[in-house]
């Protein structure tokens, strides 16, 4: 079942007098239980595409559908709500908040939800990614691989339909990267979610169900 669908998406930026076309008519879709890898040289528009899929940015032209719903013309507030409920993010630099414990970092996206206590789910998620003994540790007390696993747990706290990963193994060594990719593969099946990962990492391509190559804003 298709979770996210991009239809002939164009994204243009204006930098000074110059107009840059970052995406030039991109069609993309991702289904549940599928790991799609987007690869391409730097400046090819990978990050822009991920921002479109993650509803962090809106296209200049074309349409975006999440779960079959048209979200292209959503307001910033509506997009924020969609991100909160339906999309999980994993970043290259983990981006955990240093003053929060592992558990609190996992709870973060649901922290402002009133009347919802996600503590149990956060603990459960951390146990599932093998960090049951690191619940009250701060990010400074965790290794890179542990931090990224906390970040993965955080991305799953609101039971998203899609998980977006921007160079998830970029800051990790080969072996740690492999364990993270094993983790993602396991989650994709267990949670029935779509995972879209942007990478340079050839290792990640091996784990992908489907590889999308992007060159100069066009899918090859």
């Amino acid at each position: 079942m298709t979770v996210i669908e991009l239809d002939d998406v164009v994204k243009r930026y204006r930098t000074g007098a110059e107009e840059i076309t970052a995406l030039d008519g991109v069609d993309f879709r991702a289904d549940r239980g599928e790991l799609v890898t987007i690869i391409g040289p730097s400046g090819s528009g990978k990050s822009t595409l991920l921002n479109m899929i993650g509803l962090l940015d809106t296209p200049t032209a074309g349409g975006v559908r999440l779960d079959g719903r048209e979200v292209t013309d959503f307001s910033e507030a509506e997009l924020t709500a969609e991100r909160r409920s339906g999309i999980g993010f994993v970043f290259q630099k983990f981006h955990l908040l240093p003053m929060l414990t592992a558990t609190e970092n996992v709870e973060l996206p649901s922290m402002w939800d009133t009347g919802v206590d996600r503590r149990d789910r956060a603990v459960d998620l951390l146990e599932r990614v093998g960090l049951g003994d690191r619940l009250d540790h701060r990010p400074s007390e965790l290794s890179g691989g542990q931090s990224q696993r906390v970040a993965i747990a955080r991305s799953l706290i609101n039971e998203p339909e899609i998980l977006l990963a921007d160079e998830p193994t970029g800051n990790l060594d080969q072996d740690t990267g492999a364990t993270i990719l094993d983790e993602l593969t396991r989650l994709k099946e267990a949670e029935e979610i779509a995972i879209v990962a942007v990478t340079h990492d050839e290792q990640l391509v091996d784990y992908a169900d489907r590889v999308v190559r992007l060159v100069d804003g066009v899918i090859q």
Partner: protein, 381 residues
Amino acid sequence: MSIADLLWRVPSVQMAWRNLGRNRVRTALATLGIVIGVVAIASLGIAGVALQQQATADLGDLSNEVTVTPGEDAAEEGITDEQVATIRTIASGSTVVPEKTNVTAIESRNGREVQVRVTGVTRASALYGLASGDAPDRLRSGALLSNTTATNLGLERGDPIEYDSRLYRIEGLITSTEGFGSATGGRLVVPVSAMNDQQYYDSVTIFTDGREATALTDDLEARFNEGGDEQVDVRNFADVQQRVGSFFRTLNLALLGIGSISLVVASVAILNVMLMSTIERRGEIGVLRAVGIRRGEVLRMILTEALFLGILGGILGAAVSLGVGLVLFHLLTDDPLLVFQWRSAQYVVYGFGFAVLASGLSGLYPAWKAATNRPVDALRG
């Protein structure tokens, strides 16, 4: 569940508190700025009140005093017996003290001469405070002399003193600090009978008994000075007190103004600290926005941080100000606890309120800037 527990459940509060804990030195310095501002406002305000209280205490009983003197259009050269009788009727219940005055020279045994004002009065006890001796309720054959004059002339209690070819025994010495009117120069007080050659009284002093001096003034004016005919001049010290009061209000405003400047400086410091810390945490705030934290939620979080600085600084500043106030009141009025009366304690409340308000306002711009930053831009840089 306590209020602290409830507050802790508010995510903005919890996040703000932890964010402040990340850079304790910066937080402490920003708080210190606020503390100084609050102390400046509150202790200057309290100082004004303490000074005012000391001053009004010195003015003392003048507030219940009404003085009647002959007016511009008076028919006679003074206040007549008849008028005194009328005054007694109008001011029934109050102490009415008519007096006659003159100027004379007193010579001491060693030949020194001192000019003194002579007052002929019966109820001397109502008018004068004594350094030693008694001021009888009815002065018949004795006299009172001001302390300083007695010292100058080498006179003591019991010594005779001559006025208008008659001798009087000094029964008491008048203290020199006696409010406004009587403090200057030497003074001799003799029985009113000694001045029988003066037909009229020069002034009548009325000590109101619980009655408003201004109300009595109005009544007397209405009775004697009908239709703008100035038969008598009625004065009370209520307007003097009012003027003193308004002077201190002005002084207080000026002091508060000076104090406020330091709080404005402190809030600029908060603005700077909050702006710096939100710029530093740009990426972090981008992550918050990316994972679905709303603009309003980010805004509240940053605003709460700024407010925390204000509240923290406000509480500390209020405590320090109360301490300063205790010392000030102890030194100026001998009653340190007066600082807790609303007149002075209000400045602590103002200082605290101003601190919270100023820090909130300072937090608005950084909070708005952080909240409206596009997550894409924030994450990239």
